[in-house]
């Protein structure tokens, strides 16, 4: 490792926070432009057109880009075995955001499933 732990931790935080903000923004945007039927190709084109006209889409993509750049930066200063497992934290942060910001109903069963996925994703990198 060539960088201090605080730098690596800040970059990993950047991956998780930017990624979560991106997912939450895209989710909210797609819900608002995705009303109505989606059965034909014409519906799909109309949905794509509405998506490209929504400011939230560009904000979400910008956040995702920020997460990707943080990932590249983190990988250049810290070992993969530290960076990749830590990104599994974004499942928890996203579900918290979905529950409290997007006001989705997240049952106890769904929380348990999400925590298992988080732990599983963490273990996958070993």
């Amino acid at each position: 490792m060539t960088a201090s732990l605080p730098v690596a931790a800040a970059l990993i935080g950047g991956i998780v926070v930017f990624g979560t903000l991106g997912d939450l923004t895209l989710s909210r945007t797609m819900k608002s432009v995705g009303q109505g039927k989606l059965q034909t190709w014409r519906d799909a084109c109309a949905l794509a057109w509405r998506t490209l006209g929504a400011a939230g889409f560009y904000l979400g993509v910008a956040c995702m880009t920020g997460a990707f750049l943080s990932l590249l930066a983190a990988l250049s200063v810290a070992p993969v075995s530290l960076v990749e497992p830590a990104t599994s934290l974004s499942f928890v942060l996203n579900t918290l955001g979905a529950q409290f910001i997007l006001k989705e109903r997240v049952s106890r069963e769904r929380w348990l499933g999400t925590l298992l996925v988080t732990g599983g994703a963490y273990l996958l990198f070993f």
Partner: protein
């Protein structure tokens, strides 16, 4: 337990994209490193832009992003995100089969945990759908 058909398609598209990109980057690594050392950005981009494996991997990952957005337009983020993590399992298995990667005992444990987690999340979505059948279909 029934997975949404679009979820299944996105998981497969995502994993195939990851595998193809890994194959391409591993094969191209020596050439890319040489271009990087020579600070030749044009040659680097040309190497990537003329590689069929790299381009198909990239196309599949873009397709996955579009599918992911479509899923989010109809379904909850707290459902879509854990369920698409099935891609981790498919990628790990394909990596073992196609790229000869090792699957350690800890990794098998992780695969099992993800499978059970996705099962629970899917069951919670089914319970919700049963409670509110008026939900618009995809």
């Amino acid at each position: 337990m029934k997975l949404h058909p679009l979820v299944t398609v996105s998981v497969i598209v995502n994993s195939m994209g990851n595998i193809l990109l890994t194959l391409a980057m591993k094969r191209l690594a020596p050439a890319l490193e040489a271009h990087l050392a020579a600070r030749d950005a044009a040659a680097l981009l040309l190497t990537l832009a003329t590689d069929a494996t790299f381009l198909s991997g990239l196309a599949l990952l873009i397709a996955f992003f579009l599918l992911f957005l479509t899923l989010l337009s109809k379904l909850d983020l707290s459902y879509v995100l854990p369920v698409t993590s099935l891609g981790y399992i498919v990628t790990a298995l394909l990596g073992a089969l196609l790229l000869g990667e090792q699957v350690s005992a800890l990794r098998w444990l992780g695969i099992g945990a993800i499978a059970v987690g996705v099962y629970l999340v899917t069951r919670s979505a089914e319970a919700e759908r049963a409670a509110a059948p008026a939900e618009a279909g995809l």
